[in-house]
Structure formats: C-alpha cells, structure tokens
Symmetry: C2
C-alpha cells in the first residue's frame, strides 16, 4: 500500500508555480492576481479562504479578499462581480460557496466572466471540459487527476467507480476520467443515492473516487485487493482530541480499507491540499492567457 | 418484447408541436423559423437536411436552407452565422455536420449564439445540461430520453450502460441518465474502445444505449433477459435489396437480441426519427423564449 501524499505533491506544485511566477516577474510581466469574495462567517468557508490566501503568498501571487456580511444583497454581489470582471489587474476570482439562501448561487456563478472563472464552475467551462476543449478545470476534479498522474496510477481501461454526482466533484471527475487522455480512458460508473447494488459495483472497481459526504461509507468489504481509493469526503465530526472540538472525516473507513489498497489518499492531507493548488494553477493559466 | 416505435412517437410529437404552433399563430405570434446551413453534397447530410426541412413543414414551422459548395471558406461560414445570429426572424439554426476538413467544426459551433443553438452543441448548452439547468438539449440524447419517457421504461436505480463516448451522443446521454430526474436517476457506466470487460458489463445492464457506430456489435450473449436496448447506430452498409444500394444497420444484432428484451428500438425507425423531433422541439422552445 502506498499513501498518496497530497500535501507533499501540493507543496511541490506550489514551488513549481512560484518558480514560474518569478520567471514571469523577471521578464517584466505582472504578478498573477487572485481575488476571493467571502460572505458571512461560516467556519469552513473562513478556513478555505484563509488557506487560499496563504497559497497565493506561497505561489508569489497577489491576492485580494473582499468580505461581506450575511445580509449583503444579491445586487451588491453582482455589482462586485462586474467590477472584478472589468478590473484588468485581476486575473481570476472566486466567490466562496455556500452563499446565504437569499442569494442565487447559480446567478452569481454565471455572472463571473468565464475567462476569470478559476473555480471552473461557469457553464462554459463545464461544457468545454465535457467536450475535451481547453478550459478552467473545476479544482477538486483537476486535483484528483493530478494525484493520479504524479503517482502513475494506471487508468487506461481501468474500472473507475465515482460515488456521488455533485456538480462540483462527482460529475466533472467522471467526465475527466472518461476522456481520451492519460490519466483518463477509464471505464467510468457513477453511483449515487438511487444505486441499488453499490457494494457489488465497488468490489469490481480498480479505482474508487468517493465524494458522497458520508463519513466512513466505503468499508473494506467494498474494496478489492489492489484497488486505488481517492477520498474526497471532508465531513466535520465532533472530536475530544482536537482543540477546535472537531476533526475531518473522509468517506472511506481508512484504517480497514488502506491495507487492501495499491494507493489511497488520507483525510486530511490527500485531495484537500490539491484542490487549492488547482485553483492556483488556474490563476497562473489565467494570468498567462493560455486557456482563453 | 415490446418494439419502441420511434416513428410513431415522432409523428405524435410533431402533431403536438403543430397544434401548439397553430395556437401561437392564432394568438398573432409569428411562426417558429428554423434555418439549416448545408455545405457540399454528402449523401447522408443531404438526407438529414431534407428530413429536417420536411419535419418543419409538418410542424408548421418556416424553414430556410442555405447551401454552400465544398470550397466555402471558414470566414464565409462565420459571416453567415453572424447574420443568422442577428436575424430576428430566425429562432434557431443548425450547421449540418460534418464539414470539409479546412473548416474547424468547433469554431463554427462556438460562433452560433447559444440562444439559437437548437442542436445543443455549444459549450454553454453542454455545460448547462451537465449541471441540470434549462438549456437546448442535444437532439439525439433528448430523443432517447423522450422514448424512455413515453414507453414508461423504468430508469430510477437501473444499471444503464452507454456504449461510446462521443460528444454528440455517448457523453450527453450518460449525463442525462444520471440526473436527478425521471427518466434519469440511473446508475450509469460509460464504455468505449479501451473498456476491457465490455461483454460482462453489458450483461449486468438493465438498459443498454449503443452508440459506437459498429454494426451488430451488441450480440445476444451481451444482453440479459428483460433488458431495454436503445440502438443509436446508423451505419450505411451495402445492400442488394434496396434501390440506393445500401441500407442502415444499427449497433445491435437485432434479430437475436430482440427476443430477450423488454423494450428495443429498431434501425431504422427507432432513435432516428426522434432526433429530428428533438430539433423541432428545441426550435419551438426557442421561438417561445422558454429556455433563454
């Protein structure tokens, strides 16, 4: 069993990006600039955005954080997006989700200029990814693909089972895994809450990508010997062992599943750090105008 | 075994659309207007476009056919698309594929205003379909879904195997079958040229959607008793029995597979007529501005 060290890979890629940024700056080009819009004080969102700002520093990016209270109106947010779209110094920006219920997330996502949509959530980027055209890949799926690439996990012709059909993980990672590409070229099955024989389907999988948000869902009786397991779950569960009173738990029963695996990602330290790195990579590509 | 009569369903839907058009016209609204751009004289393309023009008549639509010879330049086509985008009388239009090699099909597709893209090939429509937002659904996948709906084929929790991962059939129909919708909510597996155990995977399928373009690929040993088989293949094979010298063959060995099926589509007369009807439906929706 080999542990996929997302933290280590993420650090390596951030160093690669930082080197490229210094080269750009040395050539007289401007530093890539990522802006993040944060609404309210949700603990998870605060943490994610803080990590993103820190990653910008590590990559040598300029970053801007724009904060609003929970009572911001949809129109105020749309106006902010308009200014960010028009601001030539901003290469890319994100609006941290989830948003308060009185704001339409889809309306916000579609207001972002797709050429600055470094989260890859705009329908144009989603569509181009499905067709196999250059685009900003959604961050978590792109991070998963990069882990498979860097660990040389065989994917061509592999049976890949994706657990979950969310718009931000399940569907796009399924789409990437079935593309004519390496990593890719896998036979992909997407399972979800209405799947009847999920254990049996998983037992036939060479690669399981678990993105259900159900702690410990994937148990050892669902995993065949030598499989690769990618755990996208990050559910906060109460814990007496941490200062915060909670810890992150993945969708995989790691202790019992890991011994059967060829490769497995831990939670935390697996997919999570890669998600932020994908965002950094998209921002670099936006600054270099290599996608659009 | 019940034969899915695509021709009959298509005629029913065309009559439904025609009734709706007469109601619109009675209310003083304009007739829906579909334009088609045809380049060269490929036999298949000529036939498809002729069928589309005829379907427009049956639905009470106005139709316009714009023809170019094989030597048309990409710029001439792009200029034509610009005029069609700007023409307020045209509700939707298509550029019949394939195009000559000196023209980028993707560039042509992306030049079409997505609000007039009744073929549903523009990345915005592809992306919105994947996310589950209102859009112009790609015609063949939409036709397949409509057949499953009208024949009440159970899809929720069904194991659905899609053979082929093309941008115009395999990927979008997989996307639709996994959506939270009826028809939909299926467990979807996408197989292709690199799939190793395709026979075994098919034998576990409740629904097989074959879109490989390989005549007779699906044989009776790949189909379980009571399965539903949708045949999207339309390969022209030589025939001494027809005046044209060829006939259409599907991806399914119909004679041997049909007896095992709960439902099966024939070729021709199955999915084919539904594809054109989906285009008519998209044109009606465009004229009514119900999507955008």
């Amino acid at each position: 069993m080999e542990l996929i060290d997302g933290k280590k890979i993420a650090d390596t890629i951030k160093a690669e990006i930082a080197a490229e940024v210094e080269k750009m700056v040395g050539e007289g080009k401007k530093r890539p600039h990522l802006a993040a819009v944060l609404v309210g004080h949700d603990g998870g969102s605060e943490t994610y955005v803080a990590h993103k700002v820190k990653a910008c520093e590590q990559c040598g990016f300029k970053s801007t954080l724009i904060r609003f209270e929970d009572d911001v109106t949809e129109q105020q947010l749309l106006d902010t997006i308009d200014s960010l779209n028009a601001d030539a110094d901003i290469d890319g920006f994100i609006v941290q989700l989830p948003l308060p219920k009185h704001i339409s997330e889809q309306k916000i996502i579609e207001a972002i200029d797709y050429r600055k949509d470094v989260d890859g959530f705009h329908p144009i980027n989603v569509g181009r990814m499905s067709i196999g055209l250059p685009c900003f890949l959604s961050a978590t799926p792109a991070g998963i693909i990069e882990l498979l690439r860097r660990y040389n996990v065989p994917t061509k012709g592999a049976n890949c089972v994706v657990l979950g059909r969310s718009n931000i993980v399940g569907k796009p990672v399924a789409s990437l895994m079935m593309q004519k590409a390496i990593p890719g070229d896998a036979t992909v099955t997407v399972c979800h809450s209405h799947t009847n024989n999920i254990k049996e389907i998983c037992r036939n999988a060479d690669i399981i990508i678990a993105a259900l948000g159900q702690p410990g869902f994937v148990t050892d009786d669902m995993v065949k010997e030598g499989a690769t397991v990618i755990d996208v779950g990050t559910t906060r569960v109460p814990s007496t062992l941490t200062k915060s009173g909670w810890k992150l738990r993945g969708d995989v029963d790691f202790d019992n599943v890991a011994p059967k695996c060829a490769f497995i990602t831990p939670v935390p330290g697996g997919v999570g750090p890669m998600t932020i790195v994908s965002l950094m990579r998209n921002t670099l590509l936006a600054a270099q105008h290599t996608v659009y």
